[in-house]
Symmetry: C2
Subunit: 339 residues, 2 copies
């Protein structure tokens, strides 16, 4: 047996996989943000020489995937599985971006929780002895997401203060049974949580209860407290959702204090970049994880991180039909060393 | 270590999980088809008392999930993971159908290969010791799929001879570390295969190369031949895709002969039911597997089955942008006994 179950939702990995390389390619707006120095490349415009935003997003995935392998010195034939998904209908950014890879492929859909979902499954496949090398990768693109989920960009629609800005980026990581860390030590898998929020322009509020639920489960299952971590980072709740998540955890007796931040807040300078409540999209938490968090762990500036990517499981059809917005959050605990 | 890798794409499970219960709820047209006696329930109309087809599809998932647990005598709290996905944008049939389950949830997207993908991941999670009970479930709905992928039903658009009919059904299975079979013994995970087919009304031709590729990989990795199996069944290639798949495998020296069939052909009577090339949709292979195949294995009429669900990874946007249709196929080998 490989994994050890802790409580209802958590696995303590017995042979914690290493993250041996990561890569991020980000859009022009993200390239003007505070994390720009952590990106491998910044594209000049949202089209990146392609005929459509969707094709540009697939190219982001394809090129990011290539960089992940290059940085690890791995050939595609050494990768046992790719686990990938994105926000576009039928996940076409991932499937078209990776169709030439010739690697066994598991498509996932977790909305903006995708990066943590793919890391979770990848870590378990390695811990269980099913794989030696797994790539977890995702993407989002502001323009392809806006026209799919909201309004044609050409309308110039006014955005609400609670709205978030979909990040243009692809981020991913290569997990391996061999390596010197950082290591994925725990996986806490989220339940779908629906508190009845119906405003598709306030997804932070819709996702916050799911984030709080998974963080609470992680603490309950492991016996850990927030102080164990140098950084607990939610996926993309933005400013509105982050404070709700903090409040919900406070009610359960967990004070997140200075260790808590949110990828949607970190990726943009909200005072200067006109992104309202912050960033969102699968590419938001993926690029913060694969860029800032990974590099700061490698440098030794972060030792233990709980990465909690959060997804809003809505579609335009569900919103048009008056449905609320279920949320989900998956957590992976990452340690710089195994001591 | 749990799983044992065979070749490039196959896992031989060391502790093969049992399929302890399955359930299928199908639509009215499916309920007039040749497999009607294998369904747990047949709904009278496509709306099933709901306000929209999408909500009806979510209800199919919710009720099928309940039946799976009831038949196994399991409470939701005993289920470690649900692995689910569907064809609707952002997989809303699954997430809305299962949002009250309170069970850790992995969303997957494999188009019509979803049932085999979720069985594959579920089997590995159990074999690896990460879970004791996993539910793999999916759905499709003719009306919700038609309006999303093709034309408003009200137009009464003429269908091409190569087109397939999306099945209205939800099917699913409970995998467990304990039980008396049938057992999942092998998992062969597919690569994305794109042969350049662009006709969204001929998805059988688009998916056939992926199916042949995965079946070929399974034989190469394991050393098995078609004769090992009582039934090799592809997901939903339909009549057009099935003969292409047979031809492709024949070129590689594998004669499928009488053991090969296709879920899209089995679920409807094509002479009487006006479905052109056959059935399709995640619910097609899911209901044939969870209904006919499971029950015939339990009765002892089928001993070894290779279930190869196939997905066409297109979206309306990708087709409108002139893209071809990548396909993917995942295979799971199921044995009535472990001898």
């Amino acid at each position: 047996m490989a994994g050890k179950r802790l409580g209802k939702q958590t696995i303590k990995l017995q042979n914690p996989p290493s993250i041996v390389s990561t890569a991020v390619i980000a859009g022009p707006k993200e390239g003007e943000g505070p994390l720009r120095l952590y990106f491998d490349a910044i594209i000049d415009d949202e089209m990146w020489g392609e005929k459509s935003w969707e094709r540009a997003e697939s190219k982001l995935v394809r090129e990011t995937f290539g960089r992940i392998l290059n940085k690890a010195g791995k050939a595609p034939s050494e990768i046992n599985y790719i686990i990938a998904g994105d926000l576009l209908n039928q996940c076409i950014a991932s499937t078209f971006g990776l169709r030439e890879s010739e690697i066994p492929f598991f498509g996932v859909f977790g909305a903006c929780s995708t990066m943590a979902e793919s890391l979770s499954l990848g870590a378990m496949l390695i811990d269980g002895g099913f794989a030696d090398n797994v790539v977890a990768i995702t993407s989002s693109h502001f323009c392809s997401a806006e026209r799919q989920f909201r309004f044609p960009l050409e309308l110039g629609t006014q955005r609400t203060p609670t709205s978030q800005w979909t990040v243009t980026a692809s981020g991913g990581a290569l997990l391996s049974s061999e390596g010197s860390g950082p290591y994925i030590t725990h996986v806490t898998t989220g339940k779908i949580v629906d508190m009845g929020i119906k405003d598709a322009n306030n997804m932070g509020a819709a996702m916050a209860p799911a984030a709080a639920d998974t963080i609470y489960a992680h603490f309950q299952d492991t016996g850990y407290a927030p102080e164990r971590y140098d950084l607990i980072v939610t996926g993309d709740l933005g400013a509105v959702g982050k404070s709700i998540c903090e409040d919900l955890l406070k009610r359960e007796g967990y004070y997140m204090g200075g260790v808590y931040n949110d990828c949607g807040i970190m990726i943009f300078d909200r005072r200067k970049q006109d992104v309202h409540a912050g960033g969102s999209g699968c590419g938001c938490s993926a690029s913060v994880f694969s860029g800032y968090i990974y590099q700061e762990m490698k440098k030794g500036n972060l030792n233990k991180v709980l990465f909690v990517a959060t997804g809003a499981l809505l579609s335009p059809a569900s919103s048009q039909q008056g449905e609320s917005i279920p949320g989900i959050a998956h957590a992976v605990a990452v340690s710089r060393t195994l001591s």
